[in-house]
Structures are given as structure tokens and as C-alpha cells.
Symmetry: C3
Subunit: 203 residues, 3 copies
């Protein structure tokens, strides 16, 4: 079931990459590339930083095929999908919750200290979107003060996992709870329009 959820998340990430490429009028190569890099780029960065090479994104065929399928769907159905962006955000949030937990567990497994594991652990969830925006020459959505909280729930979930691990209290069920909490937190942030603060300015 975790694997099915993982592929669903990758599909949603890929869709956001493909739709961005179409908005920027990239050709089919650009659409496929941006879909793949948005879905897999963050995880590849984490794996390369951990020395886990070649990354599973390259050795397990479904990790590459799912984003390519997402790109193909977007290629034909992008105008319908643009009307479904709110729905896509739900799947994206599921990916966010899942990947920040699995990402942190993998980093802890490689011996990283809690804060570093959380920082690297959110990369599979948030790094792909950052690469997407840099390549498409957009201000990173991750950092824009007018977008709803994205990294904040992921970091909170990652820190929760890291602290539990440090206290030898980590269990897979706790990971599932953390992923669900991140998912709910993110959806609530979208609904309630919660945003991260800008730099502090004297009143």
C-alpha cells in the first residue's frame, strides 16, 4: 500500500512539473523532463548526498515510468487538468506527507543526526518542486510568501520522526501517523490560507 501511495505522489508531482512546462510553452521533451525531475529530482539529490548510488529512481523501472505516464496525460489533457489543480493538490499533499517521512527515515538510517536528517529528509518531498521552478525560471513556490505552507508541515513531520528515532521510539505506525498529520496539516493550510512569515519589519 505504501508503494501505491508513493507512486500516486510521484504522479502528482510529475503532473505539476508537466503543467508548468506546458505553461512555459516547452516542447514535448521539456514536458517529459520537467515531469521526471519534479517527481524524482528531490529523491535523487538525497540519495546522491547519502552516497546511495545509483539512486533507486534509476534502478526501479516504475519510478521512471510513472512520471513519464504523468507527462503523457498532461500532454493531451492539460486544459482539463488546469481546472483540476485543486484536486491535484490533494495527491501532492499525500506525496508530501509520505516522502518527508520516508526521506527522513532513510537519512537517519544512514547515520545522520536529527536536524540534518530532517533537512535532507524533506528533500524528496520539496526538492523536486524547487528544481522545477529554477529550470522554468519561476520564483520558487516553496519560498513565495503568497503560497500556503508547504515546507513547514514537511519539516514538522520530519522533525517528529527524527526526534522519535533519537529516543529509540520510532515505529512504522508512528511514521504512518506522521505522514497523515503532514497531509492533514498541508490540506488545512490550503483551506485556511496559512502562510509563512516574511522577514520581520518594525511596525
Amino acid at each position: 500500500m505504501q508503494h501505491a501511495l508513493e507512486l500516486t505522489g510521484l504522479f502528482a508531482f510529475a503532473m505539476s512539473g508537466a503543467l508548468m512546462a506546458i505553461r512555459r510553452d516547452f516542447d514535448v521533451i521539456g514536458i517529459a523532463f520537467l515531469a521526471v525531475i519534479t517527481a524524482l529530482g528531490g529523491g535523487i539529490l538525497r540519495d546522491v548526498a547519502l552516497g546511495d548510488t545509483p539512486p533507486p529512481a534509476f534502478t526501479e523501472w516504475e519510478y521512471l515510468v510513472v512520471p513519464l505516464a504523468g507527462a503523457a496525460v498532461a500532454f493531451f489533457a492539460h486544459s482539463a487538468l488546469e481546472r483540476l489543480t485543486r484536486a491535484l493538490l490533494v495527491f501532492d499533499a499525500a506525496g508530501l506527507g509520505l516522502f518527508c517521512v520516508t526521506g527522513t527515515v532513510k537519512a537517519l538510517d544512514h547515520g545522520l543526526a536529527p536536524v540534518a536528517a530532517a533537512a535532507l529528509g524533506v528533500t524528496p518531498a520539496a526538492g523536486g518542486g524547487l528544481l522545477r521552478d529554477v529550470i522554468a525560471r519561476e520564483t520558487p513556490a516553496l519560498f513565495r510568501p503568497d503560497t500556503e505552507l508547504y515546507a513547514v508541515p514537511a519539516i514538522a513531520g520530519a522533525l517528529l520522526v527524527a526526534v522519535a528515532w533519537e529516543l529509540d521510539a520510532y515505529e512504522p505506525v508512528l511514521g504512518a501517523v506522521a505522514a497523515a498529520a503532514v497531509f492533514g496539516f498541508r490540506l488545512l493550510a490550503i483551506r485556511q490560507d496559512w502562510r509563512a512569515p516574511r522577514a520581520w519589519r518594525r511596525g
Copy 2:
């Protein structure tokens, strides 16, 4: 002979990086850096992803010296070179053909499955130009619908090599034929103005 062709390709890639830097009014450091990253960046990305570190780009001196020589030529002769861009495209196409084959063989050698090997295999050929455009803040030429096919011939050649490998039918001579076919395909695309499609829009 392959090595000579390789260095010729790197020289052409470096030239495209250096000329871009000059067009963007970068200083001599930017010209040298963009020449080197355009020539070597894609191969370094592939090697790091495969865990082949430090990459040959850093351990074999000629891989660094050739792009720096390209930068030096561009530094002095850029206005003449701007008139030779069509000629440079021929050398660039030679590099494209050669690197997508050698890149894919290396990825297959590291145990990657065919599609992933092809995807990573075109990185040495196409990744440097992408890095060049991101750093120079240009829309990536690789993805622009008004540029002639570049990634498409490379991916076709890489897939050919990967499939032959999978069927245990790969021979160096087949690699040479694939590289030559990519080279010819790319030149034909330039001559005939073939382009990759944009996202599909209902008439």
C-alpha cells in the same frame, strides 16, 4: 580516434558555453566557468549519479584543459565565432552522437535498466547545455519549441544502444553506427528545421 572525437565534442560544447557567457556580458571567470560546465557538467552529473567519483572529468587533465582552451579561443575570437555558429553546430552534433552512446554504455555497465540507462545516458550530451542555460538565465534551448530536434536524436540513439545491450547484441561497431546515425539525424533536423511538438491542443 574516439578520444580525439570526444575532445572535439567537448571543445564545441565549451564554445557554446563561452559564447553564451560573452553574450550575457559575463567576465572572464564567467566565460571560463560556463565553457567548462557546458562541456563537462552533464558527464559529471551522470558520474555522480552512478557513484563513479571523483568523475574522470576531474582526474584526466585533458578533459579540463580542452574546455579552458575553448574559452580562451572564444575570449579573443568571439566575433568571428558568432559568424561560424552553423559550423560549430556540426562539431556539437558530433559530440551529441558520441556522448549519448558512450553515456548509455557506461550507465548500462553500472547495471541500470534500459530506459533509465538511456535517460541517464543522454545527460553527458544534453545536460551541460541545460546547466548553461539555467546559469545564464535563458529558457533552456533543449526545451524550446523553436529549436531543431536535439534531445530526440540523442534519446533515439541511446534507446537503440540500450535495447541492443538488453538483447546481448551490443558491439562497439553498433555503437559507432548509432553515434553516426544520431549525428546525421541531428544535422538533418537542423537542415529540415524539424522541431518537437508542443502540448496537444484541440483544433
Copy 3:
């Protein structure tokens, strides 16, 4: 003492990243991220290229905490800091001198040839600022002809170290002298407004 100097340099680098993020109106996540990537990104790139994974930036907690502290200071005190940018440049120059020497020594230690070691060795000093500018969508300060020499002193120092190493004449004290020379060279470049040349143009 070297460690204290190192953390001071990271703090100055982080500050330049955080202030850039604030200028671009990024939110608190963007401020923290850009501070961390400006301070640590170059070193992480070098370590990943050398195969030294996970990089010390992730395994030693102070390397992550110091840039985050820099981000926190900038978050509250950015308007005061903007008036101190000349002072910050002094600490930045100290980091430049130190990191180009330690970076080169590490690359030589991993068996790289002198020129490649110098090229990779300046990455911890200069790579973070390049990543900062690419993510913030600025023309890289490193390459702008209207900024004072930055990479040139670092490359000079790195080459000095590499040549001494090659001649078996490297001693820690020589490294300290090289770092100090880079520091002085950079400050002099700022004071005297020395800049790197643009591409050569016939009178």
C-alpha cells in the same frame, strides 16, 4: 582556531544568502534555505564530486546550526545588516581565503591533479554564492564584470597550494599564508575596485 574561522566564514556566507532572500521577498523558509545553501552548498558539491558522502555538512551539527543562526539574525536585523554589508564583506573574504585552501587540500588528498584540485577546491568558497544567485534568479555576482575580483584571488590561492603540494613542499603554515594572502588580495580588490576583464574586443 581554524574551526572558529570556518564557522565565521559560514556565518558570513549565510548572511549574504539570507539578505538576498529578504531582498527577493522570500518567506522564512526561503530565508533559511538560501542561508544554508549559500553557506554549505559549495562544500556539499565538492564532497559529492569527491565521493565523500554523506558530506560533513550533514554529519557535524555545527555546520548546519551556524547558517540557521545567521538566517535568524538576518530575519530580525536585516535593515541594520544592510548598512553593514561592507563589514560583512570582510568576514566573507576570510571565509573565501580559508575555504579555497581547505577545499584544495581536500581535493588533492583525494588524488586529484593540480588544476582539477584547484578548480574543485574553490567550489566551497564560490559555489554557494553561485547557487544563491541561480535560485534567486540574479545574474551570478561571481561572473558580473561590475563586481570586484572574487574568484580570481581564490583561484590564485588554490593554484599556489596545488603547486606546492605537487612539489611536495606543502606545509600547514603555507596553507595559512595562502589563506591570508587570498584574504588580503580580496580586500585590496574591493578597496581598489579591481575587476576581471570582459571578452576582448578590438579597439
